[in-house]
Symmetry: none
Subunit: 160 residues, 2 copies
């Protein structure tokens, strides 16, 4: 959906530039940009974007983006691809799962950089990582599936 995607972008933009305390408010901002939708749809959008309502500086509630949203662009064949610098993914070599643990092999010395990126994304599917020189040990959430973890990692390592 073209409309939905640009609307999600608009939401990201608004939330990262101004303080929004309720969905109603956000709805108004979106209206100014020409987006016409109901609160119900907005609720679903926010759910999908994993936006959270926190407590701002003056004790006011505020909606904020959580994980760093990856900007994407349209690939040659029309599909959407993450925009990731090659440096970030070159190190990756393989991933294997066992129970709630995944082991990622990288090129020598790339492990800690990769782990750093993974940690930074705060994926709910991943509770933490430890890096050696060419190995990242990754602990999955109890209820996460391999698929979910792979999907999360794909935002960092497109060709995983």
């Amino acid at each position: 959906m073209k409309i939905k995607n640009s609307r999600l972008d608009a939401i990201r933009l608004i939330l990262s530039t101004q303080e929004v305390g309720s969905q109603e408010e956000l709805l108004n901002e979106l209206a100014k940009e020409g987006f016409k939708l109901t609160q119900a749809t907005l609720s679903r959008d926010l759910h999908q974007l994993r936006v959270v309502k926190t407590v701002g500086v003056k004790g006011r509630y505020r909606y904020v983006l959580t994980r760093p949203q990856q900007y994407r662009h349209e690939g040659a064949s029309g599909e959407m691809r993450p925009v990731v610098s090659p440096q970030e993914s070159v190190g990756y070599q393989s991933i294997k799962f066992s129970g709630n643990i995944a082991v990622i092999h990288t090129r020598p010395s790339y492990a800690s950089t990769l782990a750093y990126h993974i940690d930074g994304c705060d994926f709910p599917e991943i509770i933490g990582t430890i890096a050696g020189d060419d190995t990242v040990l990754l602990v999955m959430s109890e209820d996460a599936t391999k698929g979910a973890v792979l999907r999360a990692l794909r935002t960092i390592i497109p060709n995983i």
Copy 2:
């Protein structure tokens, strides 16, 4: 006051060990611990703790702690100071469990010190640790519970 503080602690403990999707649910958990309060009060507690409602792994809503709050008290000049000495809190920031693994996040560079302390205690609930820069990966004994591990760790990290 006394009651409120221990209740806030209980909330922190519950939220860091189990998935809670609504205030109603959390209220039940608190009741199990002997805390009797209304949902309105809980809403205020959560606001004060800056707890946020996010979207968990399976798309379900979930309440989570944001930044682990530092315990503070009023200093001589009226400003607020952390109560625990850096040594005591050893950079601790958060702990998460998955299966027989716990992942402890610390401030940068604190992980190995913390792991060293944990290892030194020879807790029967913990068979070993590995530390990165800001992450300690902890392997639990087969028969240890999350609660038992937390209780053990509390001797090192009072405000865990």
